[in-house]
């Protein structure tokens, strides 16, 4: 019997729990040249804002120990061009499509989401309320329970299909934010966005990013992300969790699921190994065979605490 790695979140079935993370797979075209997207549970697009955004001046990225810093600055084509140029292609793709939405006001989230509501092949939206790179941006929402709830509930009114709220680690107590997102009507939580960090070039004395700081991602942050998932999973919040942060191997995915993630997203590792999701799905299946697990849901939350 081949192990069943399908997962269902908010009534939607995914062929597997391995998704790509926003900002790490563009709008999907490039990745589709590397492997068939049918191998992917879901594709999560780069954050879309109302207006097109050029993003920050380069350098926008810097390598760090087992990770990277980025301050892309939410560069994206804007909702108009996204709908006219990207959606038609995305609608043809043999995978679930999740559009990540960002904004610097609740109204912007609402406006972008309302437009996406008209595209039935947008299976879900993911609200990026935790982007560390925009000065006057999403970050205020993601650290404030009241704003989080408001943002989600207002979007809820205009977007009827499932909504994922994507939380960041840069708060004292992530469960408060998770609860606020739940109260606002989110269907699932994506945990977590980048941590914060910076670095400086010791020859020029300039920060390595023109934005002076950026989001820290990659294997370095995996232990933090696992803890965030663990804490929220045990907090009484009922929503399914999509685990994100430093996933590079199928072993990492097993860790996230044991701590309570129903699905995961692969981000930075795509840069090193663009076909990582394919390898991870295969490894996960092999692991389930060894462990004699019929369905991948048998892993979720099964960590045995001391």
């Amino acid at each position: 019997m081949t192990p069943d790695i399908r997962v269902t979140i908010a009534g939607t079935e995914f062929v597997n729990p391995i998704w790509t993370a926003s900002g790490c797979c563009g709008y999907g075209e490039e990745l589709a040249n590397v492997f068939p997207l049918s191998k992917l549970g879901a594709l999560v697009t780069k954050s879309i804002t109302q207006k097109p955004r050029m993003g920050h001046r380069p350098p926008r990225t810097a390598e760090t120990a087992s990770g990277m810093l980025n301050a892309i600055g939410l560069a994206n084509v804007g909702i108009d061009a996204f709908i006219s140029d990207k959606i038609p292609w995305l609608e043809q793709q043999p995978t679930k499509i999740i559009v990540n939405v960002a904004g610097s006001s609740i109204q912007e989230y609402v406006n972008v989401s309302a437009r996406l509501a008209d595209s039935p092949r947008v299976d879900m939206i993911e609200l990026n309320i935790s982007c560390p790179n925009v000065d006057k941006g999403g970050i205020e929402f993601g650290v404030d329970p009241v704003m989080t709830e408001k943002c989600v509930s207002e979007v809820r009114r205009v977007f009827k299909r499932p909504i994922i709220a994507k939380l960041g680690p840069n708060v004292t107590d992530i469960t408060q934010i998770a609860k606020a997102a739940e109260a606002g009507g989110a269907d699932a939580l994506a945990i977590m966005n980048s941590a914060f960090g910076t670095s400086v070039n010791i020859d020029t004395w300039r920060p390595r990013l023109t934005n002076n700081r950026g989001g820290l991602t990659g294997p370095a942050i995996k232990p933090m992300a696992l803890l965030m998932v663990d804490v929220v999973y045990r907090s009484g919040v009922k929503l399914p969790i999509i685990g994100i942060g430093g996933i590079a191997t199928w072993q990492d995915v097993v860790e996230f699921m044991l701590f309570g993630a129903t699905a995961v997203q692969v981000g930075t590792q795509l840069f090193v190994e663009p076909d990582a999701p394919v390898k991870i799905a295969a490894g996960l299946k092999a692991y389930m065979k060894t462990k004699k697990l019929a369905t991948v849901a048998d892993l979720v939350g099964k960590v045995q605490r001391w």
Binding site: G23, C24, C25, G26, E30, L31, N33, V34, K46, M54, G55, R57, P58, P59, R60, T61, A62, E63, T64, A65, S66, G67, M68, N70, I72, A75, G218, P219, T268, L270, F271, V272, E273, P274, D275
Partner: protein, 264 residues
């Protein structure tokens, strides 16, 4: 549209070119013959503490043997570790990547401007042109470096039969001075008609080459470098500003850009 893929290849030859330059040849690499001058590959450094791949221009290919060669200079940790891999090591290569150089017309005279470690894709270009039957005597290969140690693989260029001009900043080999000064002398002497420029090298040299192109209204292309997390266009980390004012990806829209196209 290019479909890049990851492929494990074997390090077949490891040559120390001295002065911190190395040549590595990998094979069998199934995508070797799809690599064009200006194409680059993204090399993974397995088991090392360097997380990202490193972009390397293709310096030569052997389509029959399915081999590709890269040439690099030790710069930081990535290239240091790359230089330490021994023959028979297995490295994963992501490629072929990037938009290659556009070929000149047969009536054009080609002026190649290579600066230091910008040499590899231009050696490939010159080799490719000669192999395509382009008259080597119509190729001016300018190669500048800080000093003689920065001018590698001279015999290979000479063998092509192209007009070879070497400059060094300190005069230890060839003419003394910046390579672009020699190029300008040539343009002045020869006249700018039917010339096409190709350049790759350090930022200052690229800028000077771009300026020459604009000044003498020469068509041509430059190959750029940028920090490249992904190399396939998904991270938006490698962008450069165009003279139109928008950002384009060096890994997909480049690394080869037309003269005057990007801000340098």
């Amino acid at each position: 549209m290019i479909r890049p893929s990851c492929e494990e290849t074997v390090l077949l030859r490891h040559r120390d070119l001295k002065h911190n330059y190395y040549s590595l040849t990998f094979g069998p690499y199934s995508r070797a013959k799809e690599c064009r001058p200006g194409s680059f590959i993204h090399v993974h450094l397995p088991h090392t503490d360097v997380y990202f791949r490193r972009a390397m221009s293709v310096a030569a290919i052997d389509p029959k043997k399915k081999e590709i060669e890269i040439i690099f200079k030790i710069f930081g940790r990535g290239t240091t570790l790359l230089s330490k891999f021994a023959k028979d090591a297995k490295l994963d290569i992501l490629g072929p990547l990037g938009a290659p150089f556009a070929l000149p017309t047969k009536t054009e005279r080609v002026v190649i401007v290579a600066g230091g470690v910008g040499f590899p894709p231009l050696m490939f270009l010159a080799t490719d042109l000669v192999q395509r039957g382009y008259d080597p005597k119509k190729i001016e290969f300018f190669y500048g470096g800080r000093s003689d140690g920065d001018i590698v693989e001279r015999a290979r260029i000479k063998k092509l039969g192209v007009n070879f001009h070497v400059t060094t900043d300190d005069g230890s080999l060839g003419e003394k001075g910046f390579v672009t000064r020699s190029v300008e002398s040539f343009i002045k002497a020869h006249g700018s008609e039917k010339l096409r420029l190709y350049g790759c090298g350090p930022d200052a040299m690229l800028k000077a080459t771009n300026d020459l192109g604009l000044k003498y209204e020469l068509p041509g292309q430059l190959s750029l470098e940028a920090p490249m997390p992904c190399g396939i266009g998904v991270c938006l980390g490698c962008v450069v500003k165009t003279t139109r004012g928008d950002y384009v990806r060096v890994c997909v829209e480049g690394p080869v850009f037309n003269i005057g196209e990007v801000e340098l």
